[in-house]
Amino acid sequence: MMYETMEMRQVFANELDKAMAKNKRICLIDADLCKANGRASLDAKYPKRAFNVGVAEANMISIAAGMSSYGMIPFVATFTPFATRRVCDQIAISCLYAQQNVKIIGSDPGLTAEYNGGTHMSVEDIGVIRSIPNIVIFEPVDNTQLVKAFPQILKYVGTMYIRMFRKVPTPVFKDNYHFDMFSADIIETGKDVTIIASGIMVSAALEASKILKKANINAEIINAHTIKPIDINTILASVQKTKAVVTCENHNIIGGLYSAVAEALSANDPFPMEAIGIKDRFGQVGKLNFLLPEYEMTPEDIVKAVIKVLDRKR
């Protein structure tokens, strides 16, 4: 399969299509954004199990929970802000507290909402739902990882939030890559600093690593694709070796990956940390080539953060 040129939304729709063909309990609920996400064909193909509730996200989440209580496996989908902060109570109560099995798909996380601007840029989606007990938060990096994750998404019984880039992601993983939903990936090994990245920031971290190598700094690059529960074992082992951490996320540094890693490390063995991400600001309109420098989230910014954390190394 040639994933290099495919948009992640299409890869997702294809995987869901295959799964729905096999398992008649899998349903898809949209809230007026299925066209935007390449799922319209599923509505036509599975007219009973794939349907649109219109612009009504809170309703969508609780309908899904009701269907789950009846033994169905509902996927719900909209843009990340409307899949999380808009429906926080419905996720907390109808889904998690009621122990239901709902797969929440959010697309266009953080800055990737681009021209839709501040109202559509979820800088806080992980933060607001991460504190809901038992929720699983997964952010696929590329199409290969998403495809490998799909069977595990289906197998997992419980509510999961999948924070998904919509367009063509930079390929990071090879075909022979082994994926485990609850284990972080060590993409590059190194001894000087651990860079933990998620989503679109993984390829930025790999770029930063190339620059650092020229300065004789060897970074260990970890992909924390699952932000909750965070894989503390993999992270701790790496950090105890390198003794310095930089996290990179397309999210507010409050409440997201930086917070999750800091919480886990401070409960075990804390080391100096620096954060790359949205520094407690709202989003704004623009393309990524303007927004990433604007929010200091480029590979060069990661390099600066590494130099800073190395300085703080004990």
Partner: protein
């Protein structure tokens, strides 16, 4: 005021604005141009030189993605220089896709997350009643947006609170992103629903006809105890045939320079 000529000029300017970027929420912008023209060039008590004038009438576009149409009007009224229009969605712009009260002079509420602007308008109308400044609060919601529960929460409250200073419009253009509203999750019968929620309802057969809109607003201002919902049966993408023909696909559509030229010609 020749509303029809003004509406044409605003449509041209809206096309130029979105055309400068090459993509945008064209359908839902063009469908509300006529109501904007009637409000801003006749009814609203406002002062472009003093955008924050206390006691002014306000307009909250709850379907916040229609910003470009409002920006064309605000520029024409002199709230800011027309050159700003070409900065739509550019780095550090004052004119983002979705309406932002902190970036754009003359914008009365930040919207874009559907459903919320309408509740905000109810709050503004309530506040105006408390301070007794006799302002009229106008707001525009979408038919797709009317699927949000929050619309009906706000509607129920406004009816019970007898907010007769609130004049709302539904841009009933029969389309949303994924299709025609009737096929996605039908909102009809809108008139009966709003009546049942305690509103004075005026339905206009051609919601792109400024004269019908004008008459409806004059009548709405006489409401003694109820908020008014004016249902505008509009055409999404109104005024440019190839955009109208695109149907619901014109929600957020790319515009080539050739298409811009074609649209401007039709709007001459």
């Amino acid at each position: 005021m020749n509303f029809k000529e003004k509406a044409k000029a605003i449509r041209r300017s809206t096309i130029e604005t979105i055309g400068s970027l090459g993509v945008g929420h064209i359908g839902g912008s063009l469908s509300i141009v006529d109501v904007l023209v009637v409000l801003y060039y006749k009814h609203m008590n406002i002062d472009p030189a003093n955008p924050k004038m206390p006691g002014r009438d306000r307009l909250i576009i709850s379907k916040g993605h229609s910003g470009p149409a409002l920006y064309a009007v605000l520029a024409d009224k002199g709230y800011f220089d027309k050159s700003w229009l070409l900065t739509l969605n550019r780095p550090h712009t004052s004119l983002p896709s979705h309406c932002d009260m902190n970036l754009t002079p003359g914008v009365d509420m930040t919207t874009g997350s559907l459903g919320q602007g309408f509740s905000c308008a109810v709050g503004v109308a309530k506040a105006s009643k408390i301070v007794k400044d006799h302002a009229i609060i106008y707001t525009i919601i979408g038919d797709g947006e009317s699927q949000e529960g929050q619309i009906w929460e706000a509607g129920m409250f406004a009816g019970n609170a007898k907010l007769n200073n609130l004049i709302a419009f539904t841009d009933n253009n029969h389309a949303q992103i994924d299709g025609f509203t009737a096929d996605i999750n039908c909102v009809d019968p809108l008139s009966k629903k709003w009546k049942a929620f305690g509103w004075n309802v005026i339905e206009i057969s051609d919601g792109n006809d400024p004269d019908q809109i004008d008459t409806a607003i004059i009548k709405a201002k006489t409401s003694r105890s109820k908020p008014t919902m004016i249902i505008l049966n509009t055409i999404k993408g109104k005024g440019v045939s190839f955009i109208e023909k695109a149907g619901y696909a014109n929600h957020n559509m790319p515009l080539s320079q050739d298409q811009v030229a074609m649209a401007l010609k039709e709007l001459e």
